[in-house]
């Protein structure tokens, strides 16, 4: 090729490099720090959702009254949910009762997603249209809540769970809730 022809490709090559970085950056990006909408101390909203592959069984917050539990909003299309999944599996091994709520997702996708990465939840409820998400004040997925035996939200985390967060915040709280 002539020199001038090669030169004409320079803008494209620079741009292609930029895109590569953006793709990497997208998979590295940190969850946003919440600026408002904390619901800690509020009563957990009344929620009644069908359970995934549950043949008509339903998840309700009322049926959990008297027991502390954790709710994890997630979706099979969400990258950060995949990132925190290993942490959820670890938590499940320590017998934390976790209810998963799928946010704006399809049952087939969720089933195959959980089949692939493992199912840490004792039940998965489906929030197909995002209505429960509105009630719980979601800003996105993943988000995690801890509800105590009296039905009060005690903890709310926006973004992926990590070892550090589980060790420093979630587990101490959980131990205090179960000792009561």
């Amino acid at each position: 090729m002539e020199k001038s022809k090669i030169k004409a490709f320079t803008p494209f090559i620079v741009f292609a490099l930029l895109v590569v970085f953006l793709v990497i950056g997208l998979h590295h990006s940190k969850p946003q720090v919440p600026k408002f909408a904390q619901h800690i101390g509020d009563t957990a909203p009344v929620t009644d959702l069908p359970i995934l592959n549950g043949n008509g069984a339903r998840f309700t917050t009322a049926s959990w009254h008297g027991r502390p539990y954790m709710i994890n909003f997630f979706a099979s299309w969400c990258g950060d949910c995949k990132a925190e999944h290993e942490e959820l599996m670890t938590l499940a091994a320590s017998h934390l009762p976790m209810i998963g709520i799928t946010f704006k997702d399809k049952a087939d996708n969720v089933t195959s997603y959980l089949g692939r990465v493992g199912d840490p939840f004792i039940a998965v409820a489906q929030d197909d249209n995002g209505r429960a998400g509105i009630d719980w004040g979601l800003t996105g997925v993943p988000e995690t809540f801890v509800v105590d035996a009296q039905g009060i939200i005690r903890w709310h985390h926006i973004g992926a769970l990590t070892d550090d967060i589980a060790r420093d915040e979630l587990m101490p709280l959980w131990e205090s809730l179960t000792q009561q």
């Binding site: 494209f12 741009f15 895109v19 997208l26 990006s29 909408a37 969400c78 950060d80 995002g130």
Partner: protein, 632 residues
């Protein structure tokens, strides 16, 4: 019913956009007038369909239809009507609808407005505009559908973030998007020029009006956004080098460079390749901005709920559009006509040097904005690049531009004469020295950068006045340059003023008086007031200096639906300074109830926005002129 109609209209627009991106291309290559005309009809139809969808969504917002998720998440029955209307584009989904509305509007304008543009060029531009439409309509329908319903509908909504409940939301996003997205028309035409063989070097003139129109709106939108941040966000600043602000500044800088190179191309047939490359880059930077904002990849005050699927989608669109256009450029650049040559000291030379500095500044800005991302991608940890970097790099790059822009209009096309041009700079030099002297007198010699900027602003204003005087018989013909340069000069003087800001924070209770920065402030009264959808404590303050006596009413507001407090600033602008008073939350201090008070003096601040608006008018004057000159 109406919302279903809107959903259907937008879905249909996706299909018709697909047709728009194919049929006119065949029309152009087969020289088939009928197919080209079909392309024009499709562009019009797409605009009407997207507008139907947009206004259906607006209708749902205005009538409190909480069965629409988008309304339930962003509105509330007690929200004032203005914010129900502007709330249409306050959410991600709604703002993408506004994006596509403007995209199809520009498609319709390309189909309707040009009178002298070769049909082949127009057909290809319509096709490219259609392709962008396909991408973004698919983005809306598959990842950001604003028409989703819920059943049963909630009894009320979650309300809009109070920060967004401001008249600024009515002007800033539409103005900004008209510019941002308007550059799609420039992109489409540049791609069409690259696709067409045997083009005339001066055909760049068909780009000019679209560049001016988009650039004028972008200037206006950025000005409005800066004003909004200044008085509503209560931060007391007008520019923060926030990633999202940078996202708007990047296409503005490359658009400014393009604005100048397109003149050289249209008039002299010079710099055609450069003009086409800049056209592609400018809209690419708009897309990059959309990506940065919509993916939430960079932490910013502007990002709310984000979802990575959207980021991947916009990135793919950016990759296809820009990548495609740059490959087209690479394949065709060497076949483009060579422009005329010009002497280094000439009007074209001045435009080129200006381009060089502005593009370097733009690249610096892109680098700084993306640097945290690049470093993180390379495993270098998380950093944030802030104002110190941008101030240290951007200011030295943009100051020379100000000196050149005062001087260059006095150079002749093709070959200029420095001595002759310098003879015209007497008033500019005088105003420069006056501005520096005034700054020294009023504020002392603390800030070297303040004088330089004041001097540069005075220089540009003086040069523009001389330029206008010399061209007093042809003001309209020179209006874009005269207004554009004058506005920039005025805005720079206003920006220079911010170096001398005085900021004071203290606590007061009702009845207190205090002397601050030469002003005597009295906290006269505090009252509880109720707004349409908020409760507030409203303070009454008297601020006195000499004969200047002003009463200010800052508020501490509380929005119950979102349980969010917000400080509503009281501002008193005049020609020389803004007085700025913000009231904090009530504090129990023993038995006393005190309030944090921030009192700031912003010298020359109003000049920033006056200058910005004048600059934008320069762009619009150029649009009016293009019609007269048949450069469309």
């Amino acid at each position: 019913m109406i919302i279903t109609l809107g959903h259907f209209a937008v879905s249909l627009a996706l299909l018709l956009s697909l047709a728009q991106s194919i049929i006119p291309l065949f029309g152009a290559s087969q020289n088939n007038i009928k197919k080209i005309q079909i392309g024009r009809g499709l562009a019009l139809a797409n605009f009407v369909l997207v507008a139907t969808g947009f206004f259906a969504l607006m209708y749902a917002h205005v009538t409190d239809d909480f069965s629409v998720v988008n309304v339930a998440m962003n509105s509330h029955s007690t929200k004032p009507l203005l914010y129900k209307i502007t709330g249409t584009w306050a959410s991600h989904e709604g703002s993408m609808m506004l994006w596509v509305l403007i995209l199809t509007l520009f498609g319709a304008l390309i189909a309707l407005v040009p009178r002298d543009m070769p049909l082949v060029l127009r057909a290809r531009a319509l096709a490219v505009q259609g392709m962008t439409g396909v991408g973004f309509l698919a983005f809306i329908l598959f990842t950001s559908d604003p028409f989703i319903r819920i059943f049963p509908a909630p009894t009320d909504g979650q309300d809009l973030n109070p920060l967004l409940q401001d008249p600024g939301l009515a002007f800033h996003p539409p103005g900004l998007y008209m510019g941002y997205v308007g550059f799609s028309s420039v992109f489409s035409l540049a791609a069409a020029l690259l696709m067409t063989r045997d083009i005339d070097a001066k055909w760049a003139k068909y780009l000019r009006v679209w560049v001016l129109l988009s650039w004028g709106f972008l200037t206006f939108g950025i000005t409005m956004g800066s004003w909004w941040a200044y008085y509503e966000l209560g931060w007391g600043g007008w520019w923060f080098w926030d990633p999202v602000e940078n996202a708007a500044l990047m296409p503005w800088l490359s658009g400014t460079a393009l604005l100048h190179s397109v003149i050289a191309s249209a008039r002299r047939g010079a710099l055609l390749r450069w003009t086409l490359l800049l056209s592609v880059i400018t809209f690419s930077l708009s897309l990059l901005g959309t990506f940065l904002v919509r993916s939430g990849i960079l932490t910013s005050v502007h990002t709310f709920a984000v979802d990575p699927e959207r980021g991947v989608f916009v990135l793919a669109l950016l990759g296809i559009a820009t990548g495609g256009a740059l490959i087209l450029y690479a394949a065709r650049a060497h076949q483009l006509p060579e422009g005329t040559l010009f002497a280094p000291i000439s009007r074209e030379g001045g435009l080129l040097i200006n381009n060089l500095f502005i593009c370097t500044a733009c690249a610096t800005l892109v680098t700084g904005t993306l640097y945290p991302l690049l470093l993180d991608a390379l495993g270098g940890g998380t950093v944030s690049v802030g104002a110190p970097y941008f101030n240290a790099t951007m200011v030295p790059l943009l100051l020379p531009v100000l000196f050149i822009m005062g001087f260059a209009p006095f150079l002749k096309w093709n070959k200029g004469d420095v001595r002759n041009a310098l003879a015209n700079m007497k008033l500019a030099a005088l105003l420069m020295l006056t501005a520096i002297a005034a700054g020294l007198y009023a504020y002392g010699n603390h800030h070297i950068i303040g004088f330089i900027a004041l001097g540069a602003g005075g220089w540009v204003v003086g040069a523009s006045i001389t330029d206008a005087w010399r061209n007093r018989d042809a003001l309209f013909a020179n209006a874009p340059r005269l207004l554009g340069h004058l506005g920039i000069g005025i805005a720079v003087i206003g920006m220079a003023g911010s170096v001398y800001n005085q900021e004071n924070a203290f606590t007061m209770q009702v009845g207190d008086a205090r002397d601050v920065s030469g002003y005597h402030i009295t906290f006269d009264a505090l009252a509880d007031v109720q707004g349409e959808n908020y409760l507030a404590q409203r303070g009454t303050f008297t601020v006195i200096r000499g004969d200047d006596n002003v009463t200010l009413y800052p508020e501490w507001r509380f929005y119950p639906v979102q349980a969010m407090p917000l400080s509503h600033v009281a501002l008193r602008p005049d020609a020389m300074r803004d007085l700025y008073l913000a009231l904090g939350e009530e504090q129990e201090d023993g038995k006393k109830k005190t309030h944090a008070v921030r009192f700031q003096i912003h010298p020359l601040a109003p000049w920033i926005w006056i200058g910005g608006v004048i600059t934008a008018l320069g762009g619009f004057a150029g649009v009016a002129q293009s019609f007269k000159k048949k450069w469309i």
